[in-house]
């Protein structure tokens, strides 16, 4: 197995207090890594650094052997998809959201694919034209998730995406992620959820901005 991400002495210290310090970690292609740790320990920051939504203040991250700083950000972010804990849907309808991944790739909108993606997360096809203001929290998270997954990424970064979801929605989300894992997508997730932690292949703990233990 080769490492899709190599993290070398990574640090993030935007102000006087370091948020992350001296992180060294290789993430294998196709692995399922779960990051745990107390709130405020720097887990989400690590995901955001991997997603290039933040820039390290020390050390570096290699993606497929190349320094992240040298990569074209839009193309990289299309392959390394970051999912927010409380996603915001934009535009007016569900379709506006599912159309966006096509737009940024300069492709024509594929309605059939969009409808099929909705059914994969147990949402009705007809929801495509529904105004986003009418969706429940769980529905919003599912739409946001397929917005990230419409074009299969190489890496999926999940920032506590199941927090606050009801059991049914959680199950749908877990099933979807399992499908993408089976396709070989590398999944990195931050979670406090016991079932997700139990299902993890590899678990790491971050405490006070430092990597604590690397349980295989």
């Amino acid at each position: 197995m080769t490492a899709i991400f190599e993290i070398h002495s990574l640090g993030y210290q935007p102000e006087s207090r370091p948020i992350l310090a001296d992180i060294n970690l290789d993430i294998e292609t196709g692995s399922n890594l779960t990051i745990v740790g107390p709130s405020g320990s720097g887990k989400s920051t690590l995901l955001r650094l991997l997603a290039t939504l933040l820039t390290p203040t020390s050390g570096e991250i290699l993606f497929e052997g190349k320094p992240q700083s040298a990569l074209q950000k839009p193309q990289f972010r299309q392959q390394v998809s970051y999912c927010f804990q409380q996603p915001t849907l934009f535009g007016e309808t569900v379709q506006d959201n599912l159309q966006f991944p096509f737009e940024i790739r300069g492709k024509a909108f594929d309605q059939e694919l969009a409808e099929q993606s909705l059914t994969e997360v147990d949402l009705a096809k007809e929801m495509l034209t529904q105004p986003i203001t009418e969706l429940s929290g769980g529905e919003k998270q599912r739409v946001a998730l397929i917005r990230n997954l419409m074009f299969t990424p190489k890496v999926l970064l999940l920032d506590e995406i199941s927090a606050g979801l009801d059991a049914d929605t959680k199950a749908v989300v877990h099933r979807l992620i399992e499908q993408y894992r089976a396709k070989g997508v590398t999944v990195l997730s931050v979670t406090h959820d016991e079932t997700e932690i139990a299902a993890a292949d590899q678990l790491i703990t971050i405490r006070d901005g430092r990597l604590e233990a690397n349980h295989e």
Binding site: L53, T55, S69, P74, R77, F100, I104
Partner: protein
Amino acid sequence: MSNNLIVSPTALGFAVVLVVIALAINLKEKIGLERDMIVGVIRAVIQLTVVGYVLTYIIRVDRVWLTALMVAIIIFNAAQNAKKRANGIPHAFPISLLAIGTATLLTIVLLVVAGAVKFTPSQIVPISGMISSNVMVAIGLAYRSMNTSFHDQRQGVLERLALGANLKQASAHIVQMAIRTGMSPTIDSAKTVGIVSLPGMMSGLIFAGVDPTKAIMYQIMVTFMLMAATSIGSVIACYLTYARFYNSDMQLR
């Protein structure tokens, strides 16, 4: 004709009563604008007096370079004012200068080429002022709209970036909104012109005794020219501004 147009200094002195009325209302209602009002009145009197003498001189000597210099000063001042409304957007002055300059010059060139106005100071200077001030207001509004949207819609922009949008794609909705906001006063006044307001140019001509049917021709031209100028100015300003909200790593500042 011009004899009936002279407002005597005595008449102006009496008109100060109008300012006193405004001040009295302001003081009674505790609006707190009395300082600004007095400063505004004094500035208006001084600035207009100076510009009256300057224009008299420019029109009398009638030199191309002097007319061009006056236009340049108007554009520069407009850019300076637009920059103040940018509220910290980096490089707002050069961006405003380019936007107002291009919009004003392009519109004037078109009007001169079309023969709608002549390249004489008495026509070029007032028209430049009209265009520049409208573009200044338009891009000032556009800047404010962008500042507000990038602040209020931060999460939405972050999501677009995370999905792999480039800066233009991540900002498109904000830019569209800003251009719309910038142009809305011009479009609104175009819609109500004649039924609510008799705008300055047309009123001035009618005051001066020009047949209203001729005066409206000028006003129609002004309406067209302001629409063109504010759209050119807003588009240039917005397209040069949105990227300033991001850093070189394509993250929101």
